[in-house]
């Protein structure tokens, strides 16, 4: 059943007040859309966790509310961290450091990956030269490059950013190449017979046609980028969420670790939501009407 058609059919016309039955119908539609069972599931999860934490010692499993409180407390200021050599003692500052690296890597990786990918779809030589490298790099975990980068760039932003950027380049190369190769040649032909010059193809056809698939790849890449950045910081860094995790693990502080992971998870969800919004905005033509 087309939900929109249904909604249009039962909503009152502009200006008229809602009748009781229309109001009830609208409420029950929103209710089922929000799905109370899912919220019940979330509450159940928290309840089970709290119950388990009562029986298991807090050294191993701290309860959900204590973790939440710790996350809130440490977010803007965590003086304890400075004892362990963390530069900016607060979760927010370290999250910012991690987020900055992810953002820089995302920009660099996207620029290189998309350009190479689109080019490889149109120029056979580029495809033949780059594909074996990219495909091999795709099967090997990018982490294998991490120790090398640590030696070449030392401890600091450069090694982490280059690791994550390389990861994003590979994913976006594959996404954009596939998107461009799958783009039906009929669109280019149609544009030509409508009088478009070859120079317009990139702007009018290639980019708008491939954006949904590329953005989809970007969303996936972003999710993995957070973890990769955290590990790179774990291997050698003075700042960032990874460093905080390493420090708290060394101090045997599961409450702190869970709190930090909670903050990291929220950041990842937030950026994923942003990516989804981008997709909804620029790829509406693909998913409209569904």
């Amino acid at each position: 059943m087309n939900g929109r058609a249904e909604a249009v059919a039962t909503a009152p016309r502009n200006g008229e007040p809602w009748s009781l039955s229309q109001l009830f119908k609208a409420c029950s539609r929103t209710f089922t859309a929000l799905d109370p069972l899912r919220f019940a599931g979330a509450l159940l999860f928290i309840a089970v966790w709290e119950l388990a934490s009562l029986f298991i010692s807090p050294i191993i499993l701290p309860g959900p509310f204590s973790v939440l409180r710790r996350a809130a407390a440490d977010f803007w200021s965590a003086p304890a961290l400075s004892y362990y050599g963390v530069e900016d003692p607060s979760l927010a500052a370290n999250l910012a450091y991690t987020a900055e690296n992810v953002a820089i890597a995302a920009l660099i990786g996207a620029a290189i990956g998309v350009t190479l990918g689109l080019l490889s779809a149109r120029v056979w030589f580029v495809r033949a030269a780059m594909n074996p490298i990219m495909m091999t790099a795709g099967t090997v975990p990018i982490l294998i490059a991490a120790p090398f980068l640590l030696i070449w760039f030392g401890v600091g932003r450069a090694s982490a950013v280059s690791l994550v950027a390389f990861y994003i380049v590979v994913i976006l190369y594959v996404s954009s190449q596939r998107a461009a190769l799958n783009l039906d040649p009929i669109y280019e032909n149609s544009a030509l017979t409508l009088g478009a010059h070859r120079g317009r193809m990139l702007r009018d056809i290639l980019i708008p046609g491939t954006i949904p698939e590329i953005l989809g790849g970007f969303r996936i890449a972003l999710a993995g980028a957070w973890g990769l950045e955290a590990v790179s910081e774990l291997l050698g860094s003075q700042s960032g969420i990874g460093k905080v995790l390493e420090v708290l693990a060394g101090a045997t502080d599961p409450q702190g670790i869970l709190a930090t992971l909670l903050v990291l998870g929220c950041a990842a969800i937030l950026t994923d939501g942003l990516a989804a919004t981008l997709i909804a905005r620029f790829a509406a033509w693909r998913f409209a009407g569904s």
């Binding site: 899912r38 590990v231 995790l245």
Partner: protein
């Protein structure tokens, strides 16, 4: 020359060019991290001196004494150390893959049994999946220490999350017509699961397994980097602390070999398993 063979030629040439460039670089950049350990080791050095140096990682036994105990380096010791550390890494990966896949599949099928259970666990699993896997290494180390089983649990957690989500999604996408057909022919719920659902989700399992393989390798490497005492990742990170680039490079080459082989094996396996599937599904695209 056909298009395909032209492409292959270019691809091979690229690899050859990279190999030659590496050799040239090793002649030009002769900086050594430590006496006798060049940073950029040429191919000749790699397979002689560097290979020999790997015998440092052999703990002794099987009649071959350890270098740490004063014995000289030997190719045999190097070979043994490669084999033993490779087995360590592969054992972690395999155990984690099996454990994670079994649990992920079982839980996924169980949750899919009723539409209510699926919606019930949706939000918690979405949140857990949002937590970057590789960032959770310190947590697992805190809970399970840096022992073998701790690393296996970490890998199986990563694999399990992916398999679980993949199975739930695949069961959801089984064309209703297959289910209707079976019900109309009198299949019970359990029989339906065994004979219809499981085969029907197999095509989507191909991409799920490949994805979890990738995650598994990453997880094994991360776990070994951050606290193992054996395994290829351990060797790399240990060598990194002394700047021994040549050893790291040799082990990395070995690693690339293993990962490419594992992907090749899984893909061949699925091609055979999915011989019955409509070609668009078998391609996994």
């Amino acid at each position: 020359m056909t298009d395909a063979s032209r492409q292959q030629l270019v691809s091979l040439s690229v690899f050859a060019a990279l190999a030659i460039a590496w050799e040239i670089l090793s002649c030009v950049y002769t900086v050594e991290a430590q006496p006798g350990e060049p940073m950029v080791a040429g191919w000749g050095t790699l397979f002689t001196r560097t290979l020999l140096s790997l015998s440092d990682y052999w703990q002794g036994g099987l009649g071959v004494p350890a270098v740490a105990d004063g014995a000289p380096r030997s190719y045999l010791a190097a070979l043994l150390s490669i084999i033993s550390h490779s087995l360590g890494t592969l054992a972690r990966l395999a155990s984690g893959l099996v454990l994670g896949s079994v649990f992920g599949l079982a839980l996924g099928l169980a949750v899919s049994w009723s539409p209510w259970s699926r919606r019930l666990v949706q939000l918690p699993t979405q949140f857990l999946r949002a937590l970057p896997l590789l960032a959770m290494v310190p947590l697992f180390q805190l809970w399970f220490g840096t022992y073998f089983y701790g690393q296996v649990l970490f890998v199986s957690y990563g694999v399990g999350m992916i398999v679980f989500a993949g199975v739930v999604n695949a069961v959801r996408n089984v064309p209703q017509i297959y289910i209707d057909n079976a019900r109309v022919l009198g299949a019970s719920r359990a029989h339906l699961y065994r004979t219809v659902i499981l085969p029907a989700i197999l095509p989507s399992m191909r991409s799920v397994v490949l994805l979890s393989l990738g995650a598994g390798w990453g997880a094994v490497l991360a776990a070994e980097y951050l606290g193992a005492q054996s395994g290829l990742g351990y060797i790399i990170v240990y060598a990194q602390q002394f700047g021994l680039l040549d050893r790291m490079f040799l082990i990395a080459l070995l690693f690339i070999l293993y990962t490419s082989a594992s992907y090749w094996v899984i893909e061949r396996l699925f091609t055979r398993l999915l011989a019955w599937s409509p070609s668009s599904q078998a391609a996994g695209r």
